[in-house]
Symmetry: D2
Subunit: 133 residues, 4 copies
């Protein structure tokens, strides 16, 4: 499995009343890391298809504070289906500890019909390589 | 199970590039609904303890658009453990369709030690009633 | 001047570390109120043109807390130019006090050229009526 | 005037429907840059006092898109009053062009009384040096 590493800069506005990065923001971090993964996979080109998140689960393991260091998010594509793929996102704090673990499913989406569609072959090949290498 | 109903006003800023309420915002909606559930459970008083989200899973079933109608979020407490409880959040759009389904675990948290603690009895009683009634 | 009144539901996630609605969120409230103003002005139809914010100033007068009551935002169109209009946004808390005052300029925008363009006559008439009535 | 330079990583979630960084997010960028300025001014220590934004004006000069390069925000303290200081924030895109210009006033704030207070001398000295050097 290829590991896509994204360094996410934390923001003051990521914090909630308790002084922790709010749980909602972890979903944002995972999304930012997926955007960067796509940019790497398709060399900055649009993949030609749209993707929507169909499912995501996040385990929050440790509070994350505001620090100058980026949060590291490791994304992996773990399985490819007919019209979707599975991924994991591991969020690692400045001490190297896992702050949160996410996993989910993204579905290939037709903007016109607003329906899921089979992943085009050219796109599938790129995703497949990310699993095999 | 008591059902806590929250009506969440959608915002233009909830939308992403595709014109859908972004997946991240569903976690925000679920959180807002939990805040309102707590307000109802404890009659607007602080529960005296802090809570952190330990886990959440969301299934995204239908795109949600910007509409004047609120999104309805139904929260239920489904199980109470020693230091945590399980909940579900069901998000229902203006047509009555389920837009997303979430479930998760909240842990009772000591702000001083930043550790999980057993749920105090007085709080447990309130949660217990939400399950039984 | 017609006054467009928007009731904005506050969110837990609008709060910052200090427990106040963060200053950034006031710009969001003003934007939501403008979206609602446009919906009223054009009866829920797209105005047919795009608008971008060219300038905004906000005076923050009182801290706003998380309350069940909505924040009231009163928007007024105060002046119409060749390709822009001026507006004010007054944000009023649950006690009736002015929490923040904003004023700004929106420019009519061509998405193709990404440039400002003159306001089309049909749109100008609608805006003009908002000033005169 | 000392110039405090902050490099802000853009996020997909900063974009609105039009594909531009939304105007609201510029206020967030300016705030993040002020947080970093404070960190530099007080060497990562809390300044011992709280600050609230009393006023901010932003001129939006050019659309900002999602790019891998950070947005550069230059903050300057331009004037110190009895209980407040004035600042400017200049946001510069990847081409070196000014995307937005902000200016504002921050007020020294007592969390207990929720009122403005005179800037303590030790804090004033630090701010003063930022103007003189």
């Amino acid at each position: 499995l290829t590991v896509y590493r994204a360094e996410i800069q934390r923001r003051f506005s990521d914090l909630d009343l308790m002084g922790h990065v709010n749980n909602v923001v972890f979903a944002e971090y995972a999304q930012e890391a997926r955007v960067l993964m796509f940019r790497e996979l398709f060399h900055g080109q649009a993949s030609g298809v749209a993707w929507v998140l169909a499912r995501q689960e996040i385990d929050f393991r440790r509070p994350v504070m505001l620090r100058p260091e980026p949060l590291l998010v490791e994304s992996r594509i773990t399985e490819i289906g007919r019209s979707s793929f599975r991924f994991t996102s591991c969020m690692i704090d400045e001490t190297g500890a896992v702050a949160a673990d996410a996993a989910g499913v993204m579905v290939c989406f037709d903007k016109e019909t607003q329906q899921g569609i089979p992943i085009p072959d050219s796109v599938r090949e790129v995703l497949q390589r990310a699993i095999e290498e």
